[in-house]
Structure formats: structure tokens, C-alpha cells
Symmetry: C2
DNA sequence: GTTCCGTTTGTTCGCGCTCACAACCGGGCC
DNA sequence: GGCCCGGTTGTGAGCGCGAACAAACGGAAC
């Protein structure tokens, strides 16, 4: 101990070092650090000064060991390179920080239960106190519900019929609004380019579309489906361009709408002259499509933030029954949707 | 101790529990867990069985405390909702996982030194063993270099003149290739819609463009600059559309190219008929722009992966001098660039 | 049969911290 | 003057694990 010269590899200072320098016990240092009451201002100041002088930083592992709290939250995400998931992650991280938590991420390789299990285990091994799942697929959500371990889990962006707390945009009413908008513009009916099967969002948006059609007594056309990508939108668009009776298409997301727009353009069908198009998401680029895309905006960042707040509330002990937060989306009117011809 | 009945809140099993069940000492359990040699197969099996039966999971905080290794790497990112940063993060996470590390993220509020300092501190407080910085701005990189603490730091996606190890795409040669491509198509010169000042990528791409022009003895037109967003591309496009002598534009990224395309379209200038456009990045949507965008592809995921490998190598003790990995980008030819008129 | 050595297992300690509790200090009160 | 009490500080223990060392075991060599 006494023989420890501050050699070339002077180790990180620990609480005892601070205590010695400030002339107090390590416990007093701890009290200052944790804002405990009953510390004389003068003492506090000396401790603070010592901390600053040594550039002391508490060892989080030691603290976690004794408090049994890692101050870390986990995020499981899939396809996190997409705008939606990336924005949600961003929102989560910001909210976590202001709630005093670190954020650890685990991305999914695929969507089967095993992969989800693996990611959740990984996070648990790290000792996270709670998990947010960004995985809007039916399979992923049910997988999570199944593995749902000892730590609280919240799902975000997914549809809302899982058994775990969920924060999501109201996809159904958003889709309904988009469809109605088109109907109000005088279109006899509205076609739908849906997302892939197995995604809650696909289902909900499709339902909203269907409902709006039914409410207006409009014919329900056969469905086209893509996989969210521009490519799939383009391919569907090539087929749709051949159908002469199509005057309005509601796409399940903006990326597919982009592909659709180009297919229509190449086929010589003008938008919105011949065909009106509406998307969903309002990605930052949507306003710069040709023509600018009318779409349904959802605030991904807000979604992430709310999900994290929900998780923190749960950690706070208020284990109220399962909660579902549903945020209303908002229509953004641009030029890609216009009145039906001969209206 | 003996009075501890497995009440309703049976605590997590610890190594001692496993040891007792398997009839060995805790140290033997530890040996099995860490794959130490000299454990009789029979013993190992009994331990493994006990672990499984109790669903025991090692406490990472305790391990971190004694080994002084958190098995966690930090990522500092800015504007992580963008495709590039998000993809890099994804690549980093995947590589980290296969290297046996957890990943913790900290996003930057703004780009000043204080904000960077804050993020790095946050990560250090958490005990990360190394940090990857996704922050391609000159200011951020220099800030990082300054705060560069006791933990190794690697920058990714940023230009390459910082004092810290860096992984980046060769922006200069990519931009040069893009410009040359346009020149080869017969354009007398090429205009450039640059990224915002202060970004290394802006500078490098601009340099590449300038170099290609010089090499071809072409006139160097005045520069337009945006902020990477489609909106800024659109606004610049409106000005460019007014210039009758512009026949080719190289945009510093695809998003701005999108805005530019629309501005040109609205102004009645056809692409590539009147004006050729080339972008940079090759975001997934670029192939579905109107017209499909010729661009320079960079593999963000690969960038992230390589950065992480570099960091891990550094942690491995091989503190070789500063390394710079530079990955060659690749031109993707599509329809937005064509021969000059009257060629 | 003894010695020696490598394999296998157990014991002890301490990582840096927080918690529970004990000790101390000083002023107000009887 | 002694007692009580609240504010303030210190002491000891232990969180769960891995490292270092010690012990026990068994076979080979003599």
C-alpha cells in the first residue's frame, strides 16, 4: 500500500484516494456523490475539490454490483438502417439520457423467435434494467412476449395487440384518413399498395383503408403488396400502370410510393393528373418527390421518447396494468393527390 | 443464510448456488464458465447441468469489477437518423457482437466541444473500453481528439486528417471519379453542389471535384453549397435552373440530388437531356428517383465494421501508430447522367 | 514403498462501492 | 452539571466474481 509509487501506470483514482485527499472517510465521499443529506457544506466543498483535483470518476461496475442497478436500458431493433427505426432509436436515446440511463443496443439478425431470444438474452446478460423493442413484426412481438424475462419490456412502433405495453401511432386511423382524403377528392375508390404480411403496421393500415372504403360504400379493389422498399413499389407500380381504372393509390409507406411514382412516370401516367398517390410516414424526402408526396406523418422520435418514458414509469414500480399509448398521426397535404378526373 | 426460504421474490441465483447444487466450489463453476483448462469432464457436466437447472446467468457487474473490463464499447453519433450514420451504427453493432462486446450509444446534441466532451464522459462513466465516433464534422473530430481520454478512440466516416485512427471512404477519389465521368460524357465543365462547410466529407468531395476539373483543364465554376438535406438541394436547384450554361452537376450527396432533380423538373429542364446529375452515397432510394440517379456508392455498413475491427485491434494491445483505413467507393451508373448536348 | 510432478479442486482475498449501524459532537433542557 | 437529541462522520460488512495460492489426488519413475 504505502509502497505504491505513482508509477508510469498510475491507476485510476478510487473513492479512498479522494477521501484521503479531502481528509474524510470514503463514506462521506459517497454521500457527497449521491447527494445524501447531513453533510456539512465545508466538508462537501473539500470533497468536491478533491474529486476535481484527482479527476475522480466513480466506478460504475462497483456501484452496479452493490445497488443491483445497472442504469442501463436495452434496445432491440430490426432493420435499424431505415428512417423509422433509426429515428425511434434516436428518440429513445435522448429520453433515456434525460432519465439518467445508458442505452445499449442489440440488433436482430432475423425475425424468428430464436434471434429475438438471443438479443434479449444478450441484453439481460449485460444487466439491463428494462428493454424497448423496436420490431414491428407480428412474429417479433409475439416472440418477445414469449421470452419476456424478468425484466420489463416495452414495444414501440409495432401494432397494438400484443400482451406487452406498447407505444404506437394509430395506423388504422391514419390510413383511414388518407383513404378518405382521396375519396373526398372525388375518386370512386382507392387502391392500396400494402406492406408485407406479418407486419402489424401492414395489417392496421390495410384495415383503416378498408374501413374508409366501406364507410363510403366504395368498391374494395384487390390488394397489391410490397415489402416496404422502393423497388417493390416500383414493381407494383408497373402492374398498376397497366390497370386503366385506377385513379388513386394509397401506399403503406413513402418508400414504396417513391417507386410507384417512378413506375407511373415511366408509363406515362401523370400524378396527380391521371392517378393520385398518398404515402405514409412523411420521411424527410417525401416533400421532394416528383410530385411532392401527400402522406401521413408519424413522429418517430416522439414514439421512441414515449416508449422510453413508459418503460421508466414501469421501472419506477408503478406496475399498472398493460398500457397502450396510441399517438394520432397527421395528414400532410402535398401535390401528389388531386381531384379525380372529370370531377 | 440457512433461513433463506425461496420466498415469492427468490433472488437471482449466484455462482455459489450453482456450486452448491453441483457439489463443487464456486471457483470450479467459474472455471467452467471461463473455459479454463484442468476441469474433469464429469465435473464440467455437473456444473453445466446445475447452471441450466437454475437458469443461472453470471453477474456482469461483478465480473467487470474484478476483471476491470466492461466488455462494452461506446458509440458517439450525430444525426443518427440519417441513412449513413444509421447504417454505420448497424455495422458497428454487428461487428461488436461477433467480437464479444456490447454497444452503448450516446448521441450528440450539437457539435461543439462541450457536447462531445459530455458524450464521451458519459460513455467513460459507464466504463466503456473504447469508443467509435461517427461524427464527420471537422469540429467534432478535433473535439474528440482533444478530449481523447484514457480510452482508445476511432473515428469513422469522417475525413482523414485527424490525429486519431480513422476509417473512411475515399471521398476525394470518389468525387473525382464522379466528375470525370461527367467530363468524359462530353460536358465542358461540371458544377458542384457541395455539402456544408465544416464537414470533412464536404471538403474532400469538393477537392476531388476540383482536381478532376483541373486535370481536364476545365473551368472551375463557382460553388453552390447545401446542408445535405433535400430541401437545400431544392433551393440550390432553383438557382441553378436559372443558369443557362449549366449542363452537369455533381451533388455531394443523394438527398440534395433529389431536391435538385425536383427543382430542375419544375423549371422544365430535363435530366439528363438538359442537365446531367450525379450524386454521392447511393442510398437505397437513389435507384428510384426520376430519373434513376447515377451516384457514388459507399458501403456504410462495411465502414462501421472496419472501424470496430480497428478499435478491437487497438484494444488487443497492438498500439501500432495511428492507422487510417480508406475504402474505395464505387461508381453506379444510372440514367441521370448522359452525354452533353450537341455532342 | 517412496518421491516427484502434473492434474484437479478448494480457500482466501480483494475489486470499489453502498448500506447499516456505531460513534461523536454540540446545544438545549431540566 | 448531566442528559437527551439531532446533525454529522466513521467503521465494518458484503455485493458476486476471478486471481493467486494451497491442498489433495493419483500415476510414473526410481
Amino acid at each position: 500500500m504505502g509502497t505504491e509509487t505513482a508509477g508510469p501506470e498510475a491507476r485510476q483514482p478510487v473513492m479512498a484516494d479522494v477521501a484521503k485527499l479531502a481528509g474524510v472517510s470514503h463514506q462521506t465521499v459517497s454521500r457527497v456523490l449521491n447527494g445524501a443529506p447531513h453533510v456539512r457544506p465545508g466538508t462537501r466543498d473539500r470533497v468536491l475539490a478533491a474529486i476535481r483535483e484527482l479527476d475522480y470518476r466513480p466506478n460504475s461496475a462497483a456501484r452496479a454490483l452493490v445497488t443491483r442497478r445497472s442504469q442501463t436500458l436495452g434496445v432491440v431493433s430490426f432493420e435499424s438502417t431505415l428512417y423509422g427505426p433509426a429515428s425511434m432509436l434516436d428518440g429513445i436515446e435522448r429520453a433515456a439520457r434525460s432519465a439518467g440511463y445508458f442505452v445499449s443496443v442489440a440488433s436482430l439478425r432475423s425475425l424468428d423467435t430464436r434471434s429475438v431470444q438471443e438479443a434479449v438474452d444478450r441484453l439481460r446478460d449485460q444487466g439491463v434494467e428494462g428493454i424497448v423493442v423496436i420490431a414491428p413484426q407480428t412474429s417479433a412481438v409475439s416472440a418477445v412476449a414469449k421470452v419476456s424475462s424478468s425484466v420489463p419490456v416495452v414495444a414501440v412502433g409495432s401494432g397494438a395487440r400484443s400482451s406487452i405495453p406498447t407505444v404506437t401511432v394509430d395506423n388504422r386511423s391514419g390510413a383511414e384518413a388518407a383513404t378518405r382524403q382521396l375519396l373526398d377528392l372525388g375518386h370512386r375508390t382507392v387502391h392500396h399498395l400494402a406492406g408485407p404480411a406479418g407486419w402489424l403496421e401492414s395489417q392496421d393500415r390495410q384495415e383503416g383503408w378498408r374501413r374508409a372504403l366501406k364507410a363510403a360504400d366504395a368498391r374494395v379493389p384487390t390488394l397489391a403488396a410490397g415489402d416496404w422498399s422502393s423497388r417493390s413499389g416500383y414493381e407494383a407500380g408497373q402492374r398498376i400502370a397497366l390497370l386503366t381504372d385506377v385513379t388513386a393509390v394509397f401506399c403503406a409507406n413513402d418508400h414504396m410510393a417513391l417507386g410507384l411514382l417512378r413506375a407511373l412516370h415511366e408509363a406515362g401516367r401523370s400524378v396527380p393528373g391521371d392517378i393520385s398517390v398518398v404515402g405514409f410516414d412523411d420521411i424527410p424526402e417525401a416533400a421532394y418527390f416528383i410530385p411532392p408526396l401527400t402522406t401521413v406523418r408519424q413522429d418517430f422520435g416522439e414514439l421512441g421518447r414515449r416508449a422510453l418514458e413508459l418503460l421508466v414509469a414501469e421501472l419506477g414500480g408503478s406496475d399498472h396494468p398493460i398500457s397502450r399509448i396510441r399517438i394520432a398521426p397527421e395528414m400532410v397535404l402535398r401535390r401528389s393527390a388531386g381531384p379525380a378526373r372529370r370531377a
